[in-house]
Amino acid sequence: MSILSANQLTKSFGGLMAVGSLSFELNEGEILGLIGPNGAGKTTVFNCLSGFLPPDEGEVFLEGQSLAGLPPFQICRRGLARTFQIVKPFLTISVLDNVMVGALTREKSTAQAQTAAGEIIEFMGLARVARQEAQGLPLPLRKRLELARALATQPKVLLLDEVMAGLNPTEVDELIGLIQEVNRRGVSILLIEHVMRGVMALSQRVIVINYGLKIAEGAPAEVVKDQGVIEAYLGKEFLIAQG
């Protein structure tokens, strides 16, 4: 059963095509990886899905309902949350207050939101810094905060944009565990990631795009052997050199 589907999404910037007629489905309970070289159009896909950019053509469906024309905050309230590749913490307020902003879109009172936010902070391993201002956090914790805030909106679908970039292997492994746990609790996840270790460990399926076009789709282990994919990442010369 698909929970999120994109149908023929197309987006161009001043004549330059960023996403070309891209279709895919995210199944309920699945973790789907979206990979591709730099500039392939992955973040543009996220922006179209989450309502930050209107697609030129095509449509997005969440649980069978079209999201066309909805502003980002309504899409979030329907159950689709996202993180940003360049994290956007609310710098001058505490970690707890950051997460509460997300929780408040669901909870009636600030007291309830505080409880909910507290639980998520605990779960994400941020309890130690909960009262600190976000601007004091190092990058790995900022990435976690980004994820914690998104979770606080109680999403059905979570779009993660390079949450592992810039982390060391231990931190990556910890985050993999957390994301798996989130998924186990019933959140379907679409994931943009360059850290292959993360993609391989998490994704049940992978979509590869290049220049905005889908060039491969399938199980992670198969996709990385695909000629087209290797060519897209490493260039034709590499393949020729390999013979």
Partner: protein, 323 residues
């Protein structure tokens, strides 16, 4: 917590009893301290908490002053009602400005310029309306009574302006801890991130500008019945818009007590130095000092003097939630 309550109660008692020991001139200075703390707080709602800089807030003071006075002198409507009408008028203008700004994505410097443009357009229009006294302004008739919001001596004004300031503190505190207040701060910090978290940023922005405009316009009603003279250039002009933002900036933008602290520092400085310098033929010198102070604060203590006040009061108040 109780320690803080005791501290605030003590400060309040001092402020209530203070007039016993003050002469008329000193009372007048306190009226201006409370007045500017109140106006600064009103502006703080939009700029300090929500992050949209307005350099045209004199607009709302002007609307409040003119509406109240016009209704009182033409129809005999008491300022207590007139100020609400003025408040509604200010809210409508603010919502129109906000609609244009927030719907069309006018942000940052462009938003600043638009707030100036609105104030200037209104100033020019009012300057050409006969019924509002055109260029020469309006002298407010003086018929002291509670009903007319006019009093002999500074004492009643002292308590009214103190009441305004305290009410604004309570109101903004309530906003601060509400859902709206939290969303406003989120918008200030990162509007896109707030949207991604399900915040209806347009609605929150509209609320913020409406609340700010309403509060500011009430100050206009007070001004009219304290100064007794309305002039379009001084009420809608940029000088007042600049004057009223300096205190919250110096005190601490986006903090509850910033505008109050800023006003307690800058207003006496301004009143005394104005009197002192203009006697010596040095008009404008106090504004130069002001400007220098504002620049120094932004450069070297962008979080405002409140940081130091908090530190100084720390032994008395104990730790607060933040930091």
């Amino acid at each position: 917590m109780t320690r803080r309550h005791v501290f605030f109660a003590a400060v309040l008692l001092v402020l209530l009893a203070l007039p016993l020991f003050l002469d008329k001139y000193a009372l007048g200075i306190f009226v201006m301290i409370f007045f500017y703390a109140y106006v600064g707080q009103s502006w703080n709602v939009l700029t300090g908490y929500t992050g949209h800089i307005s350099l045209g807030h004199a607009l709302y003071i002007g609307i409040g002053a003119y509406a109240t006075t016009f209704l009182a002198q033409t129809f005999g409507i008491t300022p207590w009602i007139g100020m609400l009408v003025g408040g509604i008028a200010a809210v409508l203008i603010a919502l129109f400005l906000g609609f244009l700004g927030f719907r069309f994505g006018i942000r940052g410097v462009y938003f600043v310029i638009m707030t100036i443009a609105f104030a200037e357009i209104t100033r020019l229009i009012v300057s050409h309306v006969e019924a509002l006294g055109s260029f020469s302004g309006i002298f407010v008739d003086f018929n002291p009574s509670f009903w007319n919001f006019q009093f002999r001596g500074n004492l009643p004004y002292y308590y009214i302006s103190l009441g305004f300031m305290l009410a604004s503190l309570v109101a903004v505190h309530l906003i601060e801890i509400s859902k709206l207040g939290r969303f406003m701060v989120a918008i200030r910090e990162d509007e896109e991130a707030a949207q991604a978290l399900g915040v209806d940023t347009f609605r929150c922005n509209m609320f913020a500008i409406a609340i700010s405009a309403f509060m500011t316009s009430l100050a206009g009603a007070f001004y009219a019945n304290y100064i007794y003279y309305l002039h379009p250039n001084s009420l809608f002009g940029m000088a007042l818009s600049i004057e009223l933002i300096l205190r919250p900036i110096v005190g601490g933008l986006g903090t509850l007590f910033g505008p109050v602290i800023g006003s307690f520092i800058l207003t006496p400085l301004s009143e005394i130095s104005r009197a002192y310098f203009s006697k010596g033929g040095l008009e404008g010198l106090h504004l130069i000092l002001y400007g220098i102070l504002a620049i120094l604060v932004v450069l070297f203590m962008p979080k405002g003097i409140i940081v130091y006040v908090k530190r100084a009061l720390h032994p008395i108040l104990g730790t607060t939630n933040a930091e």
